[in-house]
């Protein structure tokens, strides 16, 4: 890969590419997804959209490129390679930039993985969810535990950083089953684990099932017990708990996701992708056209994938920075909070929450205390809307 790194004083930029297609839609998923396997035209639309973002952002140092979805592992290696090359041409991509992709264990044949590696990817996160076949069936996944194990084992040979994404808290799960899932992920060589509690989102097949009275998720108290267990087991295995749902061996944290939580700018291309861009001290929020055909038409007509950028007020920008920043163990910078939006109400609420032991402060860093992290929605609401 070319090294066109531009040293600038601006903070780094993350690039997100949304690939909205899946071979099958999972019943708990509320992302912008469509059941389809290929869409040749969408790759070139994404490339055009990226060019326009470069014109808007100016020269910036790209710290990460991330393919999310949907199921971006449905993409061919050469398409991924072409997009990464394009990003490199536009901004320059350093050798240490993280280039990651979310993969379905079904798309992990050794040829496919080799093509991904050759295209320039250096991190894969696998949607394993569980190694328990009954659970995979209940979760509507199209792979089984054997495929999941094989995918992880193969990937860890080829890639330095491999993450296993797990779901816990499905109805019927016990602590033993959870422990077994974690053990298998660790044994397969994952150096990063994202452990997501199953939540029932509006409009999903699971929401309809629960409305009918069919349980899909465990209750609040059990899920808290399971979450405690995830922490205990992974910390014992040498992982750090660097974000609410994310655990990593040192050096294997997701740089791309950290960019969101640290309040950095990010490019968002592909149908429904969100972006943030700071230009002349003003923060903008973008959402690309949701439907793939509308997105392609929009890019064709205007060169970019979103219709209008929303100007964030100082308060809104502060709220975003705080609600994202409290999720990570290193927390947020109070200096920056004050720069964005000085607010005595925030300071008062913060003092109360620190007093009550939900938040902790070290110099100018503010972060969630262990007991605050579990109920972070409440804490955030008290801090920003209390």
């Amino acid at each position: 890969m070319m090294n066109g790194k531009i040293k600038g004083h601006k903070p780094p930029l993350a690039v997100y590419i949304h690939w909205p297609y899946c071979a099958r839609i999972c019943p708990y998923c509320d992302f912008n997804v469509y059941k389809q396997r290929v869409d040749k035209g969408l790759v070139s639309a994404i490339m055009d959209d990226l060019s326009q973002w470069r014109a808007w952002s100016g020269a910036r140092n790209v710290s990460s490129v991330h393919f999310g979805g949907g199921t971006p592992s449905l993409l061919r290696g050469e398409d991924i390679g072409a997009i990464l090359d394009h990003v490199d041409k536009l901004w320059g991509l350093s050798a240490d930039a993280e280039c990651g992709l979310e993969a379905n264990p079904n798309n992990a044949a050794i040829e496919k993985l080799t093509a991904f590696k050759f295209a320039g990817l250096n991190r894969l996160s696998f949607g394993i969810q569980s190694f328990h076949d009954a659970a995979l069936q209940q979760l509507g996944r199209d792979h089984d535990s054997r495929v999941a194990k094989a995918a992880l084992e193969a990937a860890t040979v080829l890639f330095d950083s491999v993450s296993a994404d797990l779901i816990f808290g499905w109805h019927g799960q016990t602590q033993d089953i959870l422990a077994h899932d974690l053990t298998l992920a660790l044994n397969a060589g994952a150096c990063h684990v994202s452990a997501y509690q199953l939540t029932i989102e509006d409009g999903t097949a699971f929401a309809k099932a629960e409305a009918r009275g069919a349980r899909r998720a465990v209750d609040n108290d059990l899920s808290a017990d399971l979450y405690d267990h995830v922490q205990t087991q992974l910390l014992a295995a040498g992982f750090t708990h660097y974000e609410v749902s994310n655990f990593a061996k040192p050096g294997h944290e997701s740089a791309h996701n950290l960019a969101y939580w640290r309040g950095h700018d990010y490019v968002g291309v592909g149908p429904g992708a969100h972006g943030r861009m700071t230009v002349k001290g003003q923060k903008y929020a973008t959402i690309a056209e949701m439907r793939p055909d509308a997105y392609r038409a929009c890019v064709q007509k205007t060169k970019r994938g979103f219709v209008q950028a929303e100007v964030l007020t100082a308060e809104a920008a502060r709220d975003e920075y705080v609600l994202m920043g409290l999720r990570i163990s290193c927390g947020l910078s109070l200096t920056r909070v004050n720069e964005i939006y000085p607010d005595p109400k925030f300071d008062r609420a913060m003092a109360v929450l620190i007093d009550a032991g939900y938040l902790q402060r070290e110099n100018e860093r503010l972060f969630a205390a262990p007991k605050g992290r579990m109920i972070l929605n409440h804490v955030t609401e008290k801090l920003l809307a209390g």
């Binding site: 993350a14 997100y16 992302f31 999310g68 997501y196 509690q197 199953l198 939540t199 609040n220 108290d221 899920s223 808290a224 979450y227 609410v244 749902s245 996701n257 969101y260 939580w261 990010y266 968002g268 429904g272 992708a273 969100h274 972006g275 943030r276 929020a285 959402i287 809104a316 709220d319 975003e320 609600l323 994202m324 999720r327 009550a356 939900y358 992290r373 579990m374 109920i375 972070l376 929605n377 409440h378 804490v379 955030t380 609401e381 920003l384 809307a385």
Partner: protein, 602 residues
């Protein structure tokens, strides 16, 4: 032209809801030509939407019909449509005292119901001649002979000559009119030149005419321009307009003895025209006013609050407007830590409460919270004084109270006997004392004395559910009795919540307390800390539940695409603060209050 007093018939129609009173009235109006068919909207007598929907009359209405009978004479028939519900018992008694006879309408398949009984007994008390009419005679389920026997057995009047009618098809309407003319007596002769003595039957506010007063002349004559006085309230007015309803208002030069009519006299407030008052001429008053005047006395109270505190001024305007037309409804401002600013309102009964609440919501488009209804308790204080307690939140220190008296009622319940067991159990649970039980034609009639506070909560609903809707219920007040009553407070996280406190009988307190605590446990969302919910009598806790602390609520995934959604949720929470009521450290959603105050324990 002077009216022949012998040719006047003043009558009311007594019936149970749904037995066809209004339809029969409409038939009588159209038969005598009071309105053309085109003008007859359905059931013209029930003016208000709510009256139409519920099939009940709230304000007395009257229609003057001209009927040429088979004897060749033309008669003036004044049909008084009386309020059909026990809540308006006093209004009913005033309407009945303006008549000499009643038509008793009984559904030929349903037979006599509890409410029919109460009303017909009132008519008999007013010395009315009663003409029974069996309505809906053309229905396949009609059993005229059985119902006639029932009327004779239960009410004790001769039903052999009962008219068989179908107000729907028009059958028996002329027979009914002939019976009114031949069987009902004319009013007592009154001297048209004597000092004026007239009964104020009802008054209401009309958008076009202002306050309209309905009256019945006993002696003397009401004329336009006359200076009149209401003898109990002592107010003076000059009559602007005199007339009758046919049912459209029609101006008349004068209204003489035995006749029923209306007048307007620039009266500002309906409250100044009290039902039952005597109207006389100011400069030549009658010596003795009519007997039986009683000022309106609310018996059931509840707090009414706007769901959105910003609507308080609208609510204030709305209750003021309703009071214009309904002097029996009272209100005063109330503040509650739980519900903010609102009004403590008094009503004649539960139906009256429901009607007012519905009118506020419907006609004034307000979202309201109504607290659990409460009755008026009389507190006998140690210092010898009496205190009327309208709101449990105002209860003084128990050490100052000698004892508490509560209103009791006598309830009459009629039911098919398969539901009798459930009904007896219900009445027993409500501290009832059985005073009578009889069977007539497969129906049971139970009489119970019950404390009114046990009835105001959800007695109707429970009665309906245990009898699958077949039982009918009526009651009358029978005075105050001493009761072992205690104030039960509900404490959330140690703080008493005023809107949830209530007076209960000591024996019922543990059950009620447990129910409230259990219900609140499900209604109040988890907080960051444990929340005890307690029911207490004075300092003694009688029931307790605990809402566990919230252990985990953090969103599992929060990436670039979630920031906007989370921020918008925060914006909503910032605005949504108004919808939560703060109690110390605990936030209780508005919806939880409304649900907790619904008192059904089924």
């Amino acid at each position: 032209m002077a009216v022949k007093q012998n040719n006047i018939r003043n009558f009311s129609i007594v019936a149970h809801i749904d037995h066809g009173k209004s339809t029969l009235a409409d038939r009588l109006i159209s038969f005598t030509g009071g309105l053309t068919d085109r003008e007859m909207s359905e059931q013209v007598l029930d003016n208000m939407d709510i009256e139409k929907e519920r099939g009940i009359t709230i304000k007395a209405q009257t229609v003057r019909l001209d009927y040429t009978a088979k004897d060749g004479e033309t008669y003036i028939l004044n049909l008084m449509d009386t309020p059909g519900h026990v809540d308006f018992a006093y209004e009913v008694s005033r309407s009945l005292s303006a008549c000499e006879g009643s038509i008793l309408v009984v559904d030929a398949s349903q037979g006599v119901e509890a409410q029919t009984l109460a009303n017909v007994y009132q008519a008999i008390e007013h010395d009315h001649e009663i003409v029974p009419v069996l309505n809906k005679i053309d229905l396949p389920a009609a059993e005229p002979e059985r119902v006639k026997t029932q009327i004779e057995d239960v009410i004790g009047i001769d039903a052999s000559g009962a008219i068989e009618a179908s107000a729907k098809s028009g059958l028996g309407i002329e027979d009914t009119l002939e019976a009114i003319v031949t069987l009902l007596p004319p009013p007592e002769q009154g001297d048209p030149k004597a000092p004026l003595k007239a009964l104020l039957i009802d008054a209401w506010y009309d958008t076009y005419m202002g306050v309209v007063v309905l009256f019945r002349v006993i002696e003397g004559t009401v004329k336009k321009g006359m200076r009149i006085r209401t003898m109990n309230t002592g107010a003076n007015y000059t009559v602007d307009k005199v007339g009758v309803f046919r049912p459209k208002p029609e101006d008349m030069a004068e209204i003489g003895p035995g006749e029923v009519g209306f007048l307007t006299a620039s009266i500002k407030d309906v409250a100044d025209a009290a039902v039952g008052d005597t109207i006389t001429e100011d400069k030549r008053p009658t010596e003795i006013p009519l007997e039986g005047f009683k000022p309106a006395q609310p018996v059931v109270f509840c707090g009414i609050f706007p769901v959105d505190a910003a609507d308080f001024e609208d609510l204030r305007a709305a209750v003021g407007r309703l009071r214009l037309n309904d002097a029996s409804f009272s209100f005063e401002m109330e503040t509650s830590a739980a519900l903010g600013f609102g009004f403590r309102c008094g009503f004649l009964g539960l139906l009256h409460l429901e009607i007012i609440q519905e009118r506020l919501e419907r006609e004034f488009d307000l979202d309201l919270i109504t607290t659990a209804p409460s009755v008026v308790y009389t507190l006998k204080m140690r210092d010898g004084s009496d205190m009327q307690l309208h709101n449990p939140a105002d209860m003084p220190d128990v050490m100052q109270i000698l004892h508490i008296e509560e209103p009791w009622i006598k309830a009459t319940i009629m039911t098919p006997d398969e539901y009798l067991g459930g009904i007896l159990k219900l009445c027993q649970e409500r501290r009832g004392v059985q005073t009578g039980l009889s069977y007539i034609n497969g129906r049971a009639m139970v009489e119970y004395e019950l404390p009114l506070n046990e009835v105001v909560f959800d007695f109707y609903d429970r009665l309906k559910s245990v009898s699958k809707g077949y039982a009918s219920f009526d009651y009358q007040a029978i005075g105050l009795r001493e009761g072992d009553l205690v104030k039960m407070s509900i404490l959330v996280n140690g703080d008493p919540v005023d809107a949830l406190s209530m007076l209960v009988h000591r024996s019922n307190a543990p059950g009620r307390g447990r129910m409230m605590c259990e219900r609140l446990k499900d209604l109040i969302p988890r907080h960051m800390f444990k929340i005890p919910i307690q029911a207490a009598l004075g300092g003694k806790v009688i029931a307790r539940e605990t809402i566990a602390a919230l252990r985990k609520d953090v969103t599992a995934k929060c990436y670039g695409g979630d920031a906007s959604r989370k921020r918008k949720l925060l914006d909503k929470q910032k605005k949504g603060k108004k919808k939560m009521r703060q109690f110390g450290k605990v936030e209780i959603p508005q919806a939880a209050f409304i649900a907790a105050l619904k008192m059904d324990d089924s």
